[in-house]
């Protein structure tokens, strides 16, 4: 009679990918030039930037690099002077490519392993939004075999198949206090997979300008049986059955790019890329728990992302035969509408600048380093779902280094 329904203390983790999770750190030479690479041919990273251009590579390549990423966000809750910072954690986007074809042949094979999406955000367990998110570690590793064919001296095409292995590890406080007053915690941890493809075309025009157009498809990544671990006061554990699993599908969006290369002198390359990312496929984020109870229901959170574009430009100056200097920058529009910004990635319009340096240390060995600074504009938001209200600001620092062997 005195029945109490422990109402819907929704354990709905609000996972979001966004521009912030599209890391695009595909190669050090390209990062140095402001993330351009669709319309020019630099090295094996063309497997990622434009598979259509791979056949135009004059040599075979094997290369790899890493771009440690420091994502530093601050949140100022509305009406306070509190500053909540994310802790210092270094994400490690990496890339490795191999490109091979017979000398002077019309085709080349490529293989790329890279991390186009990912995020590492740790707000800690004492901040204002801990019931929305404590921490998130998200990785997507794409493996992409590629074939590229030169149709003519001035035109090549290529395409690849993408296998994605994704993993997520998300924690969030649950507003159910134990006898010491400490809150519970939800942790969702699991891996999944998805498939996709990409294709590109590359032209050399008579005016000396090179042009690349690519499409990287949407990759629906499904985590079918991740662990759903709920730490709650003992008297409520039966409402959060353990062990439990969850399933969720996240559409990693398609990206359309067009890029141009200009060559004002033998020492200079200028490049420009425009990307349109089809984030509008990301309408809802759902979590389906295997064992539901009156309290633990499946969750469906509206995301309603919109298409986002970015504009990138960069240059390379070949100071000597062995030394290349690079710089670039760009602008990316946010995919997240007002009212939908969440702390997983406090997305906003962003600007960035990059610097790079390439050095040929031995006859066939390039070492490239790059540095990127990215600034997400201050954004004051009240999230519709969580009512978390305040101002986000984010700086991202990405140094990087790669080695490329070519023959």
């Amino acid at each position: 009679m005195r029945k109490i329904l422990l109402l819907v203390l929704t354990a709905a983790p609000l996972l979001a990918f966004s521009q912030g999770f599209q890391v695009n750190l595909g190669g050090q030479k390209q990062i140095g030039m402001g993330h351009t690479g669709t319309g020019i041919v630099q090295d094996g990273a063309s497997v990622f930037f434009n598979p259509g251009a791979v056949a135009m590579l004059p040599e075979n390549y094997i290369q790899g690099g890493i771009s440690p990423l420091l994502f530093k966000s601050v949140f100022n809750p509305a009406g306070t002077s509190i500053q909540n910072h994310t802790s210092n954690k270094v994400a490690t986007p990496f890339h490795a490519y191999a490109v091979w074809g017979p000398k002077s042949s019309f085709w080349k094979l490529g293989l790329g392993v890279y991390t186009p999406f990912g995020g590492l955000t740790d707000w800690g367990n004492t901040w204002q939004g801990k019931y929305v998110l404590e921490s998130l570690d998200l990785k997507a590793i794409y493996i992409q075999p590629t074939l590229s064919i030169k149709l003519a001296d001035w035109m090549s095409i290529g395409g690849g198949f993408v296998y994605n292995h994704g993993s997520v590890d998300l924690t969030r406080a649950i507003p159910l206090a134990n006898s010491s007053g400490d809150p519970g915690q939800a942790r969702l941890k699991g891996g999944g997979k998805g498939y996709g493809w990409n294709a590109g075309v590359y032209f050399k025009t008579e005016a000396g300008i090179t042009i690349g157009i690519t499409h990287r498809s949407q990759v629906n990544t499904t985590i079918s049986a991740g662990n759903a671990i709920f730490t709650v006061p003992a008297s409520l554990q039966s409402s959060f059955p353990q062990p439990n699993t969850f399933s969720s599908t996240i559409p990693l969006p398609a990206t359309n790019s067009i890029g141009f290369g200009f060559y004002p002198s033998s020492k200079w390359i200028l490049a420009m890329d425009v990307n349109l990312v089809n984030w509008d496929s990301y309408k809802t984020l759902s979590f389906d728990y295997k064992n539901n109870t009156a309290v633990l229901q499946d969750t469906h959170s509206a995301r309603n992302y919109q298409q986002a574009f970015s504009l990138r430009g960069g240059a390379q100056y070949k100071a000597t035969d062995k030394l290349a200097l690079r710089f670039g920058g760009g602008y990316g529009g946010t995919a997240v509408l007002d009212g939908y910004v969440t702390p997983e990635v406090p997305d906003a319009n962003r600007v960035y600048g990059t610097l790079g340096l390439g050095y040929t240390v031995a006859k066939r060995l390039d070492i490239d380093i790059s540095f990127e600074y990215e600034h997400l504009m201050k954004r004051t938001q009240t999230n519709i779902e969580s009512q978390l209200s305040g101002t986000f600001k984010t700086d991202v620092y990405i140094p990087g280094i790669s080695l490329a062997y070519h023959w």
């Binding site: 530093k72 009406g79 019931y131 159910l176 700086d395």
Partner: protein, 439 residues
């Protein structure tokens, strides 16, 4: 050597990046047009930090005035001192603790009876026993006294009838003659909050309209004017709060007529209705069939239903016949609800007009809690509502708030003050405060 140097630079660079954090520049908190140097809080149990059916140290430490006082310190507020129970007597008056759930999901609460601050029991002729608590000596900013009504603030013997007030006074009951208002005014202050008036309606309501009376509307208005005139005599500023609708609390909404009836019908499908002893008019009560508009109190022992009661027409089951209605003290019936509502509306008209005349800030607790009852509320990812235990806002007694509830109320007071006085007292982080504690 050269590469070694390069490494050093890279490592140094990474460390440097690790050190630079983005900052959001916020305007410096400002006191606006107010001097917050000595803030005092007047009120009843809600102001004292009462929760889970008792006043105890952990509740006092999260009282809304203590939260406001702490936040005021960034805009020139002084120390905010409360009449805390000592750690040795941390459980104060004792309180209820949630110790588990029955198989049907109903909560099991157990009284905490150790480490109390009870000093003794004083029998007062014609009144009853007054529990006395260990005296508090020291500075006081929080004058919240559980049980006090506005009606009591100028009543000289009150210090002998309320153990929570007696505890603050230097003298021992039954020798006290300092009124609450005089006691509060004995030390100068620059800013006040006042949330008196709840018990003038609530004490009547929680006793099912049987154990107490509503304070007369004109008496309320007269005393409220006296109170505010006195508090603002030297130009002090302040914030006042309205009286919540008594039906917005889980104390009246958890055990419902339909739930009791459904339970009865499980055992006895022929049971058609519950009977209550309901108000007809004035002080006349008569049995009638209960409707969903009659509110049953949280403390009603539902096991009484159906127990045989001796009546002139034989033994009949309790609550199920017109001869054996549920006692008046357990029911705030429809007419009593309306009567209470009418008084509360009148009290609030007084509070708002007096506040407007004196240029005081107002936290409209009536509207705020009514809105939560109707729509719930989401704060920083946490859903709160007026449901018992699960709502997160109300403590185990169904009347007083949880730490989360008090933090939310503190922020509402702060918003009202900031709006009125152009100040910018920072709000508190509600995520730091818990709801009901579960075993």
């Amino acid at each position: 050597m050269k590469t070694f140097k390069l490494h050093i630079y890279i490592v140094a660079g990474l460390l440097l990046l690790g050190a630079c954090k983005p900052e959001i520049h916020t305007p410096k908190p400002s006191a606006g047009s107010v001097d917050f140097s000595r803030y005092i809080a007047l009120g009843n149990s809600l102001t004292a930090g009462y929760a889970d059916g008792g006043l105890y140290l952990a509740g006092q430490q999260v009282s809304y005035p203590s939260i406001i006082g702490k936040q005021m310190q960034s805009v020139g507020g002084g120390a905010f001192t409360q009449p805390l129970f000592s750690t040795a007597q941390a459980n104060g008056s004792g309180y209820l603790s949630l110790t588990g759930f029955n198989a049907d999901g109903t909560p099991i609460t157990t009284p905490v009876t150790t480490n109390l601050a009870v000093r003794g029991l004083l029998p007062v002729p014609g009144f009853g026993n007054v529990t006395l608590y260990t005296k508090y000596t020291g500075d006081i900013n929080n004058y919240g006294v559980p049980g006090i009504k506005l009606m009591h603030i100028t009543y000289a013997p009150y210090g002998n009838l309320n153990g929570y007030f007696e505890r603050l006074l230097p003298g021992n009951a039954p020798t006290n003659s300092t009124t609450y208002l005089d006691f509060v005014m004995s030390k100068p202050f620059t800013f006040f909050s006042n949330w008196l008036g709840n018990n003038d309606a609530l004490s009547y309501a929680t006793s099912g309209g049987a154990g107490d009376v509503l304070t007369d509307k004109n008496t309320f208005a007269a005393l409220y004017n006296v109170l505010i005139n006195t508090l603002t005599a030297k130009g002090q500023k302040g914030v006042v709060a309205t009286v919540p609708d008594v039906t917005s609390i889980p104390y009246f909404n958890t055990i419902t007529v339909s739930a009791i009836l459904a339970g009865v019908q499980k055992a006895n499908p022929n049971a058609k209705a519950l009977y209550i002893n309901a108000l007809v008019s004035g002080s006349t009560y008569a049995p009638r069939v209960a409707t969903p508009n009659d509110l049953i109190v949280l403390t009603f022992p539902t096991s009484k239903i159906g127990q045989l009661v001796a009546t002139p027409v034989g033994n009949l089951p309790y609550g199920l016949t017109p001869y054996t209605p549920i006692d008046n003290q357990y029911v705030l019936d429809e007419k009593e609800v309306a009567l209470t509502g009418d008084y509360v509306t009148s009290y609030n008209t007084t509070i708002k007009s007096v506040a407007a005349a004196k240029g005081l800030a107002v936290f409209d607790a009536y509207t705020f809690l009514q809105n939560i009852k109707l729509n719930g509320m989401v704060v920083d990812g946490v859903s709160v509502n007026s449901n018992y235990i699960s709502g997160g806002l109300f403590s185990l007694d169904g009347v007083h708030l949880t730490p989360r509830g008090y933090a939310i109320v503190a922020n509402e007071f702060i918003k009202a003050i900031n709006d009125k006085y152009n100040s910018s007292i920072p709000q508190v982080n509600i995520s730091d405060y818990n709801g009901v504690k579960f075993p």
